[in-house]
């Protein structure tokens, strides 16, 4: 007769066990870091209209988050140069674990789970050695740190799973910072941002660098299309008023394509791409600039700037069935379509940089 343990193991193997799922967490559509009216920082789970389903307090300002692919767990990352990443049970808001990087390192605010959910990857700064690091954590139980590897550059910021092959794509922003000097940029004259494609063991498979005259355009944020095309948003570190692109597309094996380079309206972004997302059908890509108070929607085929949507302090951005959903530092949610912007819920919170879709 099969033992109870064996029976349960069999059920688990067959995927039949009554496992907690995102549905049991009230099925939030998004995660976002935020700040409440009293100045306290938190991670929130949100409906697609921007209503708050849960809040989890954070010890300091958060940035982005990563959602486990199957379990209703999310990791809220500290804003750089923070040193916490809180793993949260999104049904109860209970803390599951608090991750801390090794001494001499801090988090950069982004991370990603492996496709099977067994590992968590985090972008980190090994600041004594001015080296970008990807931390690897065991997400199958306990969130122990199990490995680390080079990110392929300085200042790794956003990182996503590849969709065309197993692996990670990392935006190495190229900017060296050290906590002793806060967020001061230490190497602007020599900075060299890149996109690095790493396999899940950390082997560098491909790297994309921008043309030399754009070496001051820090590659920070990423979007992924199901065919593996990467959208990247940049932040210009040179003089204000230079007409430089804030968004580009890259497919492994090909050169990058910069978008709307010759459109004077790129100046409306103030050289600052905050978040980037593909539309649901992949035909458009949106880039926000809180400094310009604008979302620019670009055509992924021709590269032209299609439309600008003005929203005060807009930054978070995600695909929506008919375009995009955008969030702002004034607590607003907007539905963006080809015809315009439509207001959704307003929370008494300031939404931080990124809107993380759960799907």
């Amino acid at each position: 007769m099969a033992s109870r343990r064996g029976f349960l193991a069999g059920l688990l193997a067959a995927g039949l066990a009554p496992q907690a799922s995102w549905a049991s967490a009230g099925s939030p559509a998004f995660l976002s870091a935020g700040k409440d009216a009293g100045g306290a920082f938190l991670l929130a789970g949100l409906t697609e209209d921007g209503e708050v389903l849960f809040r989890h307090p954070l010890p300091a300002r958060g940035h982005a988050a990563a959602a486990h692919p199957s379990r209703p767990e999310a990791v809220a990352f500290a804003r750089r140069p923070g040193r916490f990443a809180d793993v949260i049970d999104c049904r109860s808001g209970a803390a599951i674990a608090r991750l801390e990087p090794p001494a001499g390192q801090h988090f950069y605010g982004h991370g990603a789970f492996s496709p099977d959910g067994s590992r968590l990857f985090t972008t980190e700064n090994d600041y004594e050695n001015a080296r970008g690091v990807i931390g690897v954590w065991d997400a199958s139980g306990g969130y122990k740190r199990i490995a680390a590897f080079a990110s392929g550059g300085i200042g790794p910021h956003d990182m996503l799973l590849r969709r065309d092959a197993p692996g990670l794509v990392v935006a190495n922003g190229g900017i060296e910072t050290h906590p002793d000097s806060g967020r001061t940029k230490l190497n602007l004259p020599d900075m060299r941002p890149n996109l690095s494609y790493l396999n899940l063991d950390g082997t560098l498979e491909e790297q994309m660098e921008l043309p030399k005259e754009l070496h001051l355009n820090s590659i920070r944020h990423l979007a992924m299309r199901p065919d593996g095309t990467v959208g990247f948003a940049m932040q210009w570190q040179g003089d204000l008023g230079e007409q430089v692109p804030t968004a580009g597309l890259h497919q492994p094996g090909s050169p990058a394509r910069l978008l709307a380079e010759d459109d004077p309206r790129v100046l409306n972004m103030n050289g600052y791409g905050g978040s980037i997302a593909f539309s649901a059908d992949g035909s458009q890509i949106g880039v926000t600039s809180p400094r310009g108070g604008v979302l620019q929607v670009l055509d992924t085929v021709g590269g032209a700037l299609l439309k600008e949507h003005r929203m005060h302090d807009v930054c978070g951005l995600a695909a929506a069935p008919r375009g995009f959903t955008a969030s702002t530092g004034t607590g607003r949610f907007f539905a963006i379509s080809d015809t315009g912007q439509h207001r959704l819920h307003r929370a008494d919170l300031a939404w931080d940089n990124h809107l993380i879709p759960l799907s």
Binding site: D239, G241, Q243, P290, G293, E308, T330, D352, N353
Partner: protein, 331 residues
């Protein structure tokens, strides 16, 4: 709590905010765009009469219309942004020298399309507007390039285009957007959002002064960039700083309505900046490259930085508008 407090304040005094935006719209914004349209019409007439780059009447009309644009250009929202009208009037900074390239191409090829205003309005923004016209009137090379006849036609095409664009902006303001600013309806959903837009006009105007009109020619101590001074070909760089200060001050004072302490600080701040600008005696900021005169331009820039701090640090909170949570983050 702050957000709640703001809501309560506005609920208690919605008329005041509407009154403020109505006053600013009626007394500052509409007159600025009416003046711009009128001066641009005069420019078009002057060019039709005499298109010679040395023509005193043409240059004077050009100066007036350009100045009217600099004064109105703080209101970069709504009508100026439709069809990229603001860029069509003023494509600057032109970090890749697109304007001289586009003009040289037109002159070399003698492209006949410029004769048709509808067609010309679809041409590259770099070949249109006040900065393109500045090259044709003041640049030693482009003002003599190619045939006189073609350059004359191009001068007229650009002037006609400016007149038409500014007329559209004016009409759009009068017929549509002024109502949006007077009370929340479509574009804005609350008085607070309207005030936020006006405050942004002020902060952006000061930012352009600081980072662009002064910051670009200043460059760094080791690498000053005098050639980046705005409108240096027509010798108007410093003059535009003054025009801009004179246009921004009434907006700042209007926004500080009823706060006499703050108004006094604003008046004093603008007076100091104006004083330093007037005493510079350096119309195109050539002095940025000379350490002895550079510090005086830096000192003017410092006054404008102080004004920016006053506006974001005191005027913003007074109006219940906080500086952007994300805009200030940089991450």
């Amino acid at each position: 709590m702050r957000a709640l407090a703001l809501t309560l304040t506005l609920a208690a005094a919605p008329a005041a905010a509407s009154e403020l935006s109505s006053t600013i719209t009626g007394q500052l914004i509409l007159p600025a765009f009416q003046e711009l349209a009128a001066d641009s019409k005069a420019l078009n007439k002057a060019a039709a009469k005499d298109c010679h780059p040395q023509s005193e009447t043409l240059r004077a009309a050009y100066g007036d219309a350009f100045e009217a644009w600099v004064a109105a250009s703080s209101y970069r929202f709504g009508p100026t942004e439709t069809d990229s009208r603001a860029f069509a009037l003023a494509f600057w900074p032109d970090s890749r020298s697109k304007t001289p390239k586009a003009l040289a191409n037109l002159i070399r090829s003698e492209d006949p399309g410029i004769a048709d205003p509808a067609k010309f309005s679809s041409y590259s923004i770099a070949a249109r507007g006040f900065y393109a016209l500045e090259y044709l009137l003041f640049d030693p090379q482009l003002s003599t390039e190619g045939s006189d006849k073609y350059r004359c036609a191009l001068t007229r095409a650009i002037s006609t285009d400016i007149a038409s664009t500014t007329q559209y902006i004016k009409m759009d303001w009068e017929q549509n957007y002024a109502a949006e600013m007077r009370s929340p309806a479509n574009r804005y959903q609350s008085d607070a959002e309207i005030i936020q837009e006006l405050l942004k006009a002020l902060t952006t105007g000061l930012q352009v002064l600081d980072d662009m009109r002064l910051g670009r020619p200043l460059g760094t101590f080791d690498r000053p960039r005098p050639n980046r001074a705005e409108a240096r070909r027509s010798g108007r760089s410093l003059h535009h700083v003054l025009v801009s200060l004179n246009a921004l001050e009434p907006l700042a004072l209007a926004l500080a309505d009823n706060h006499t302490d703050l108004q006094a600080k604003i008046t004093a701040g603008f007076a100091k900046a104006r004083e330093k600008a007037e005493s510079l005696n350096d119309p195109v900021f050539a002095g940025v490259a000379d350490p002895a005169s550079r510090f005086r331009i830096e000192s003017l820039q410092q006054e404008i930085k102080d004004l920016r701090r006053l506006v974001t640090g005191e005027l913003g909170p007074t109006l219940g508008v906080e500086a952007g949570f994300n805009a200030l983050d940089g991450d």
